[in-house]
Each structure stands twice: as structure tokens, then as C-alpha cells.
Symmetry: D2
Amino acid sequence: MKAHKIQQAPIPMRSVGPIRLTGHLLDEKVWVPLATYETPLWHSVGRGARISVLAGGIKTSVIDERMSRSILLEADDAWAAHQALLSIKSRRDAMNKVVGLSSRFAQLIDMHSQVVANLIYLRLEFTTGDASGHNMVTNAADKLIPWILSEYPGLRYSSISANYCSDKKATAVNGILGRGKYVVTEILIPRELCERKLHTTPEKVVDLNIKKNLIGTLLAGGLRSANAHYANMLLAFYLATGQDAANIIEGSQGVVHAEVRDGDLYFSCTLPNLIVGTVGNGKGLDFVEENLRLLGCKEDRDPGANARRLAAICGATVLCGELSLLAAQTNPGELMEAHLKLER
Amino acid sequence: MKAHKIQQAPIPMRSVGPIRLTGHLLDEKVWVPLATYETPLWHSVGRGARISVLAGGIKTSVIDERMSRSILLEADDAWAAHQALLSIKSRRDAMNKVVGLSSRFAQLIDMHSQVVANLIYLRLEFTTGDASGHNMVTNAADKLIPWILSEYPGLRYSSISANYCSDKKATAVNGILGRGKYVVTEILIPRELCERKLHTTPEKVVDLNIKKNLIGTLLAGGLRSANAHYANMLLAFYLATGQDAANIIEGSQGVVHAEVRDGDLYFSCTLPNLIVGTVGNGKGLDFVEENLRLLGCKEDRDPGANARRLAAICGATVLCGELSLLAAQTNPGELMEAHLKLER
Amino acid sequence: MKAHKIQQAPIPMRSVGPIRLTGHLLDEKVWVPLATYETPLWHSVGRGARISVLAGGIKTSVIDERMSRSILLEADDAWAAHQALLSIKSRRDAMNKVVGLSSRFAQLIDMHSQVVANLIYLRLEFTTGDASGHNMVTNAADKLIPWILSEYPGLRYSSISANYCSDKKATAVNGILGRGKYVVTEILIPRELCERKLHTTPEKVVDLNIKKNLIGTLLAGGLRSANAHYANMLLAFYLATGQDAANIIEGSQGVVHAEVRDGDLYFSCTLPNLIVGTVGNGKGLDFVEENLRLLGCKEDRDPGANARRLAAICGATVLCGELSLLAAQTNPGELMEAHLKLER
Amino acid sequence: MKAHKIQQAPIPMRSVGPIRLTGHLLDEKVWVPLATYETPLWHSVGRGARISVLAGGIKTSVIDERMSRSILLEADDAWAAHQALLSIKSRRDAMNKVVGLSSRFAQLIDMHSQVVANLIYLRLEFTTGDASGHNMVTNAADKLIPWILSEYPGLRYSSISANYCSDKKATAVNGILGRGKYVVTEILIPRELCERKLHTTPEKVVDLNIKKNLIGTLLAGGLRSANAHYANMLLAFYLATGQDAANIIEGSQGVVHAEVRDGDLYFSCTLPNLIVGTVGNGKGLDFVEENLRLLGCKEDRDPGANARRLAAICGATVLCGELSLLAAQTNPGELMEAHLKLER
């Protein structure tokens, strides 16, 4: 194999749907491109999509967005670290002037910190327009560090990234403080539809969600996570739309909540850390641009609106696949049978 | 977008290296294909690869392998659950006869369990030859469940997968009980090489590893993880070699340990849950087969040997990228500068 | 305050009950001593105890027991570490001869390990008769280390305790590999009793358990835990019976599972890591001996039987307090009202 | 055993010290009462105390304080939940008027939330003067809930406590958002003192801290924790000073950071969640009042100052015991020998 020759890894991709979405962001049917080696996923999401149409839609809410970078500084002792942090946190306006030199879109919206011994872990949190924002926040941090060191001569540089961000790692901080889009998707599925199309009952899905997703993940020592396979849908969606797919690690930490409501099935997927963008790294490729365009995420909108739309669609896609797998697993043998049939 | 037409998502791919490997599995130089939207990664891994050659190689050990599936059963009460488990665990030979009907390669090697109330979470652990084994173990579990239910009429079926497996989720169980290949990679880098090629010192890398990877991840509420960006290398390697890339979630939970030894830098990456295979899902595609062939992982060897070789190479690739990034982050400004230069 | 004069901290203690227990270990009513500054706890557990009597008893199962100590050794590299571990694990009989020199009761029953870089974390697991066993396993490890170092001259000593034990820390390893007694307690409460005595319904308790204990703890970034206040009952029981109460940290990691069954309330508390003993440290004090005697845990039984009985009673006590608090929290205002009334 | 007769559990207690403290809160020597069944602890803390005097003191910083209670409400859907939260969070002044009716000391200082499906987990954070504040915040929440339900008729009550608080549970949220006092203690120990009094070297302590506290706890699946036995000191200090000792669960989640600095040992203990108070539950007992008085924590100071002083002393006590045990574990055999000698 000759080195340094750029090549391509063509991952199988198919457009699945349509998925019916409702909510504050969009009210329409959307076909979703999914690129994956696990091709039975197409069928699984497709089944959920059909339910979304028949049940009147998946209600989707995007309730927060931010991207973070944590820097690491050192003070003389813990008290000096604390005093410096108090002051820095009070000067967001001055810091945003510095941030503005690095990007038109980045806006410092909050800061959180940890002090260990004399070490300062400062988590800088930004909105980043339509970009997922990894580079934008690194760039902003790169500008802020010299400013901080010059304003606070008692502090010393240690690292531009200190894992309190926390990028592509399964942690608790992202869910608690926010990173990426916070997306909630909900659907109410009539009992009759549940039985006819999913071959199960609302009670069975609720029961399995408790025993498998909540208790099973807990026993495994899971962290802020209760779902069957968010990761599969996220990977396929991310690859098809030019996202940094390593962010499925935090993205897949989310919670399925299901209830029987008046005999019907209320089913929801909460994804507190969905990192997606419609511009930036990975977006220049033709097929990516085409996919984003077909998803309606390259329109002329306010900064951030295209990315929020993309997040909403991604969250609905996750719900479709999650619902379909859980329903299948309520029936002995169905999962394996489906795999064998589809992979032949 | 027309539905149901199979398409492709061509991810940029480049061959990086050579990486020099030593150890019980292989002693040679290898070029590694990496498919990713984050193209600065090629440069980063390439820098680590050059160090591997100059320092005499990355010693790689594969010290465990298994794939698991946890099933969920119910008993009348906790005591009945316990009694059934005691009996089931004593009958591995009988169970392997059942497993043998589903696959030539799957072999049940261990079982672990949890009892909650009257619920049984039984984790079945198999070797699976050269396959990563997801489907093989699901298939085996699918055969074992009817056998168990018939041998233990007091038990009832609840689910074929109960998240105690635990697939594509960040949990503690996989690291503690094993899932995938357990890979350790180690290198000793002379101080002079550290300074000349990485523009840093052994002390600085050790210090950053403690403050960022160990303490920083801990503060973030991380789970069995202390590294800077295992996830990036894993994703790129997985996509290029036809792996189920959603398994980067558990794969990226691993530990960097670095020490100054007689003035030189000892640097190691431990990856307890590296799920890779050289046959099975995703492997039929031409470019995947070609990549596996070029990596020397399609040779005529004992079952499992090709997959172990692949795991070793993957682990060494992770070390290259991890070393390079940590070295860069010891220097203010270097990370952003490199990104800006490479992405132009 | 003059130093070095031994004094006493007299904690308020009351005997609560009787609690009705059934199961494989005991079938009787027991009064339970609870020492605590949080005196409303007495009332809370007492309410649960009355339910236990009216509902026909709390079924209690003790399904595992062990105490562990992890030692830390170093090898030349990861492969040497692995080879040494393979050999050590195969020689349990020889090791038990060494263990036998340190104690009549300690018995090495299993070993688990982790390798990071060239480091060996070896978790030694013992049964320890009626003692909780902290010192017994430290003593055994202290004898085993010289034996290992002499049999495996390639290994070096690093520490007698390496936090993979894991003592008095909230971790996942204890739940997965076992430490202390694994106790499950279950009760079936008729709907009518639920309504009349707990002023709630089975449905409300089940719903609250899902939303508070399972989802709420998950959101908090909890680890293998889903309960309202196991810790309170454990502390009070531990102090009254001479236990090392810092072990409530792992002891309180457990799961409440509740279901509506035929209109009644099935309610269970699983405690996988209950560390208790009837001999050893803290047990020589008069009031402790008296409490253990009154609990029927100083009888002439096989080694371990008294401690298992104590664990069963402790688990049932936890269920009483947990049930009572959850029931109270289903009603707005009831919790605060009870506190205000009782603390006056 | 007759029920309902109040008794006492007299725990052995000794005054240990003096510990030398410096920092923004106090600059003096203090004798510390410790109540415990694990009496070797007195010797261990005493050894650290002597180091504190010889090394010029333990610098102590208290950098945050708050107590939290999370309530659980339900909205019609996720978007309605989000809209209600936006409004509630903007009305802190109005809410503090309600809080003021329940307590002179409670002050609502911040709010954080999580939305799952249509569920609202609202974490109310208060300062609570010299009380640890458990009841104060429950009482405040009890007043705030009717106010919220009346102001936001679209919301429904679910529970007064939803485990996102998170009380007496090992979680990540308390460390990230704060609960109790955030205490950092630091000491610089000359190499000569390290060798003469602790029979070890700065390098050995630093090395053990990395391998045992950081990596060992990580492997165990620990959560935001890296220490050897914070729990032991906390339990003994809490019992002697009338604290709710079940709070050692979150209190013991903290980080030891050690470095060799110019040949000397820098050693620090960070305790982000130390819940202590000098008034309230458990404080009325004579010996508790006496202990608090002797610690100088019953002086006429601004509200909160006595509790901060108590937190500082507690943090320094933890450092003494932690330092002593780590030093002992660097030497093979020393730990067991000390236990055997002291327990005889």
C-alpha cells in the first residue's frame, strides 16, 4: 500500500423514511440518509418511520445548545486559584471581545470550573452558530489563554484541553452542564398500532425499557445512559451528514422513557448531548452537501437554525430505531430472525 | 431523495505509517489505513509512527478476548433465581453442545450474572474466532434461551439482550469482565528523540497525562477512562477495516500510563475493550478486504489469529495518535496552529 | 481538650420493630437496634416494619459472600504481567496453604485482575467466616505478597492495597465481582394495605421508583444505584451493631425494583455489597455484643451463618425504611410534615 | 429487647492532634475529636498531625458552599417543560420571597435542571448559614412547590425529592454543581521530614498516589474519586461533631494530588462535597456541643462562618489520615504491622 495517496472508504448508504416530525422546529416528512456497515439498521429505522407517519408524528424539541473547551491553568495555591476564577467569571464581556477576534460566530455564554489542589480546570462554553464548533472553541480558547495569562500574571499555562470539556469521552459533565444540542423526541402510539405494526403491547415495551435500558444499564455500571442502541442510529446519521462521528460517544448517552397512557404507548428519547453541525469540518464533500440539502439544512436561516433542524431530525431518527428494536426484543426469537433474513 | 436506492458515503481515507510493531504477535512495519473526516489525524498518527520506527517499535500484547451477550430471565423470587444460576453455571459443557449447533466458532468460555429482585441478568461470554462476534453470540443466545427455559421450567423469558452485555455503551462491566480484545501497547522513547521530534520532554508528557487524562477525566465524571482522543484513531481505523464503528464507545475507554524512566519516556496505551474482527458484517466490501489484506490480516492462520493481529495493529495506531496529541498540547498554541495549517 | 484520653460519643439508639422476615435463613419477627442522629428514621423504619408483619413478611435471600483486597505488583512489560497472572491464578491451592498460616477462617475463593501498562492489579477474594474480614484479607495479602514475589522473581512490589478492592469507595467493581454479602429482600403488599397504612397506591410507588430512583439517580450521574435512602438505614444499623460504618459507601449502592402485580405492590431491595460481621473490630463493646445477641447473631452456628443472618436482617431493615419514605414522597407535603412533627 | 426505649450507642472517641492549620480562615493548632470503631485511625491521623506541625501547617481553603434539593414536576411535553423552566429560572427574587417564609437563613442562590421526556428535574441550590441544611432546603422546597404549581398551572407535582439533589448517594452531580463545602487542603513537606517521620520519599508517595488512587480507582470504575480512605476520617469526624454521617458517601468523593516540588513533597486533598454544620439536627447533644465548642465552632460569628471553620478543620483532618496511610503503604508490611500492634 503506497502511503500518502488520498483514497476513499465508501460506506453503504441508504435513504430511509419518510419520518414524520412535528414540534417547534419543523412539521413535515423527511427522508433520512444513513451510512452504515450494519445494514439491518435501515429496515429497523424504516419500521419506526412508518409508525411515526401513522401515529401523527414525532414531536421534537431542541432545548439547549453549546460547545465547550476546558483549559488547564495553575495558580500558587487553591485560594489563589479560587480568587482568579471569581474574577475571570465576572468578565465575560471583556472575554467576548477577545473571542470575537477569532470568529464571527463564537459567543462565550457561560463558564464552569473545578479546582483541584492549585490546578484550575476552566470550562468555556460557547454558542457556535451552525458549526458543531470543535475548532471554533479551540481557536477561541487559544486566544483567551494569552489574555488570561496577561491579565492574571499569577496564573501559569498547563494545557489548552484538560478533558473537562469533555470531547468524545463518556462522562457525566456533558449531560449536566450541556455540550451539543439537547434534544427530546416524543411520540404517542395508539395501542392498536402497537399491536398491529410492532407486534407488541404498550405494557411490554414499558416493561422491557425498565428492565433492560434502566436496570440493565445500571447493573453494567452505565453512566447517564438508558437506551438499547442510540449509537447505531447516530453513527449512520453522522457518517451520512459529515459529522465527526467520534462524538457518538457522548451523543449516545441518553434516556428512553416510556409510559402506558390511557392504554396507548408514550415513547420518548432524550439526547442531551447531540453534537451536529451543517458547516465546518467534513462538510465540503459533495455527497455530504447533497444530503444536508435534501434534509433542508442548507437553507438561508439565522445562524444555528440549520444545525438545530439537523439535530431535531437526528433525534427523531434515533427514536425510530430505538422503538423498533425494543419492540422486536419483546418477542423471543424475532431479533435474530430479522438479522438473518436481512443479512442474507 | 428517492428512497431504497443503495448509495455510498465515501469517507476520505489515507494510508499512514509505517508503524513499527514488536511483541508476541508481530515484529514488523505496517502501513495503516485511516478513514475520517478529521484529516489532521493522518498527520498526527504519522508523527507517532515515525517515533515508533526511530524508538525501535511499539511492543504490543493481546491478553484476553471474548464477546458477550446478556440475556434477561425471570424467576419466582431471588432465591429461585440464585438456585437456577448456580445450576446453569455448572453446565457449561451441555450448553456448549447447544452453542455448537449455531456456529462452528462460538465457544462459551464463561458466565457472569446479576440478580435484582427476581430478575436474572446472565452474561454469556464466548470466543468467536476471527469475527468480532456480535451476531454469533446473539445467535448462540437465541439457541441457549429455549434450552434454558426447557431445562428450568421455573424461569421465564424476558429479553435476549439486557444491556449487561454491554454493547456500544459506556459502562464499567466490559472493562472488568472483558469484551473484545484486551490490548496493551508500550514504547520507550529516548529523551533526545522526545525533544527533537516531539518538541517536548518526558517530564512534560507525564505531567500532562496526570493532569489532563487522569485528573481531568475524573473531574468530568469519566468512567474507566483516561486518554486524550483514543476515539479519533479508533473511528478512522474501524471505518477503514469494516468494523462496527459504534463499538468505539467501549473501545475508547482506556488508560494512558506514562513514566519518566532513567530520563526517557515510557508511554503506554491500555485498551481493554477493543472489538475488531476480520470476518463477518462489513467485511465483504472490496476496499475493506483490500485493507485487511494489506494489513496482513487475511492470512491462513488459526481461528482468531488474524483478528488478534488486527487488534494489535489498531492498538499501536492508537498509541501513535495519542502520543502525538499529548506532546502537542504540552506546548501553548501548537495544537491550533497545526489544525489551521493542515485544514487549509 | 486534653489529648489521648479515650472518651465516648453516645449516639441515640432505639430498638425498632418487630420486622417480620421469611426466607431460607430465618422465619421470625425481629426487633432491630438503630443508632442515629436522624431520629425520624426510627418512625420511618417502624412504619415499614408494621407493613412487614401485616403483609406476611419480607422474604430475604443471601446469595453471595466474599471480602477482597487488591494488591499492586509490577512486571517488566504487559506480556510478562499477563504470563505471571495466568500462572498465579492457576495455583489457588498453593496460595490457600499460605493463607492458612494467617487465619483459620480466610479462604481464597477467586481472583480477578487488571493489567495497565506493566502494572498488575490483582484482586484476591476470600470468604472470611463471621468477620466482615477487612483485616483478615489484609493479613492474608500480607502473607501472599512475599510468596508471590519469591515464586515470580520477575515481579516487584508496589502496594498492598490498590483501590481495585475497593474499600469504602463508590465503584462498579464491587457490584460486578462481589464484596460483602449479596442480599435481596422482597415483599408483596396487598393493595388495601398500601392504601390504608401507607396512604398511597401500588401504581404511585412504582411510578415514583422509576422517576426518582431509576431516572433521577441516572441523571445525577449515579453509579450502580437506584434508591432513595439506603444509606440512612445502613448507617444506623452499622453503628448499633459495631460495623465499620464507612462501608455504607458501597453498601448503599443498590437497586429498588417495584411492580404492580395483580393489583398489589411487589417491592424489593437488592443490596449487592452489604459488608457486615458478627466478630472482629468494633464487636467487643458491651452494647454491641448485647445488640448482636438480641438479634440472634451470637449463636453457636457454622462459621459465616451468624453473619449471613445479620445481613438478612439488615437488608430487611433497609426495605422497611425505603418503602416508608417512597410512600411518603408520593404525597405532597407529607415528608416535611412528618419531619417537623417528629423533630419537635 | 423492649421497643421504643431510647438508648445510646457509645462509640469510642479520642481527641487527636494538634493539627496545625493555616489559610484564609484560621491560623492555629487544633485538637480534633474522632469517634470510631476503627481505633488505629487515631494513631494514623495523629502521625499526620505531627507532620502538619513540623511542616508549618496545612493550608486550607473553603471555596464554595451550598445545599440542594431537587424537585420533580411534570409538564405536557418537553417543550412545555423547557418553557416553564426558562421562566422559573428568571424569577429567583420572587422565589426567595417564598423561601424567606420558611427560614431566616435559607437563600436560593442558583438553579439547575434536567428535562427527560416531559419530566422536569429542578435542582434548587441554597446557602443555609451554619446548618448543613438538609431540612432547611426540604422545607424551602415544600414552600416553593405550591408557589410553582400555582404560577405555572400547566405543571403537575411528582415528588419533593428526585435524586438529582443528590443526597447520600455517589453521583457526579454534586461535584460538578456543588453540594456542601468545597474544601482544598495543601501542605509542603520537606524531603527530610518525609524520610525521617514518614519513612518514605516524596517520589514514592507521588508514585503510589498515581498508581493506587488515580489508576486503581479508575479501574474499579470509581466516580470522581481518587483517594485511599477519606471515608474513615470523615466518619469519625462526623460522629464526633453530630453530623449526618451518611453524607460521607458524597463527602468521600475527592481527589488527592501530590507532586515532587524541588525535592519536597507537595500533598493536597480536595473535597468538593463536604457537608457539615454547627447547628441543626444532631447538634443538641452535650458531647457534640462540647466538641464543637472546643473546635472553636460555636463562636459568635456571621452566619456560615462557624460551619466554614468546621469544614476547614475536617478537611485538614482528612489530609492527616490520608498522608499517613499512603506513606505506610509505600513500605511492604508496614500497614499490617501497625494494625496488629494497635489493635492488640
